[in-house]
């Protein structure tokens, strides 16, 4: 459990790659599920399925942002993690207050309890990782 201390870390190596792996798993799972739901029974719960598709898209973009690691990549990842956190907390709260709003489960319903609360954990870990690997203020 020895922590390696490297002054400047890229977001796409070491623990970051593990984070990207989990993001990719969620991207694949959410994309395939939302895609099939939209294709086969869109009318049953359009809001829930569109939300799942949006969540899937954000997971993909976040993974790409972390993997690209540059300045732009960091910004993209930061935006995605922020949107995810707002999404999972917002949808989680709404799904508890008014269950009729989402007649079918989304990744973010009940704060992601159907997925072991990983959807709630991921953006937090993402933000912590971006903070941990932040570039130093003085470039020289």
């Amino acid at each position: 459990m020895a922590e390696t201390k490297t002054p400047r870390l890229a977001t796409n190596s070491g623990p970051g790659r593990l984070l990207i792996a989990v993001y990719l798993v969620f991207a694949i799972a959410a994309t395939s599920r939302a895609g099939l739901q939209i294709a086969t029974k869109f009318d049953e719960a359009p809001v829930a399925y569109l939300l799942s598709a949006l969540a899937a898209l954000i997971y993909i973009v976040a993974a790409v942002g972390l993997a690209r690691a540059g300045h732009a990549g960091r910004r993209i990842a930061l935006a995605c993690c922020a949107v995810e956190l707002v999404g999972v907390v917002g949808v989680g709260a709404l799904s508890l207050v008014d269950p009729d709003l989402f007649p079918d489960e989304t990744v973010w319903s009940q704060f992601g309890s159907g997925y072991g609360y990983v959807p709630l954990l991921l953006p937090v870990l993402g933000l912590l990782w971006l903070w941990h690997t932040r570039p130093h203020p003085h470039p020289h």
Partner: protein, 141 residues
């Protein structure tokens, strides 16, 4: 673990006869995946990159999952239908991608974190297998 995304799935824990994704093959993939996860965890804790055992384990796991997919497709060809087709195929697609994803990412990361990636994905795989079984057996949905 008290709540599952589909309430009807929770009462189908008993193996229903005739499910193509519930049997010795599915159990074998779950056990192999968990053993591999422990092995990879030990490697990560010892600061070791993914070794041959992990790579070979992933290959065998992928073969097992592909065999499971073939079994499901054969059952579909025979006229059987999963309880929740959308979720079932979603999980099936995800499942066969997992070991391949672990292998690709672990190759890119030849450090302890490569082993950690394999560990994480091998912990996810059994969950997806179980969900696959639940979405086959769920009535209605």
């Amino acid at each position: 673990m008290t709540e599952t995304p589909t309430p009807v799935a929770s009462m189908t824990s008993a193996a229903a006869a005739g499910s193509p994704v519930d049997g010795i093959l599915a159990t074998a993939t779950i056990v192999l995946s968990l053993v591999l996860a422990v092995w990879a965890l030990v490697a990560a804790m010892r600061n070791r990159p993914p070794d041959r055992v992990q790579v070979a384990g992933l290959a065998v796991l992928e073969l097992g999952l592909l065999a499971l997919t073939v079994a499901a497709l054969v059952a579909l060809g025979g006229g059987e239908r999963p309880g929740e087709p959308g979720a079932f195929f979603g999980y099936l697609v995800t499942l066969v991608c997992l070991p391949a994803l672990a292998w690709v990412l672990a190759r890119m990361e030849p450090t302890r974190w490569g082993s950690a990636i394999i560990c994480a994905i091998c912990l996810v795989t059994p969950v997806v297998v179980v969900r696959l079984q639940q979405t086959w057996e769920a009535l209605g949905g």
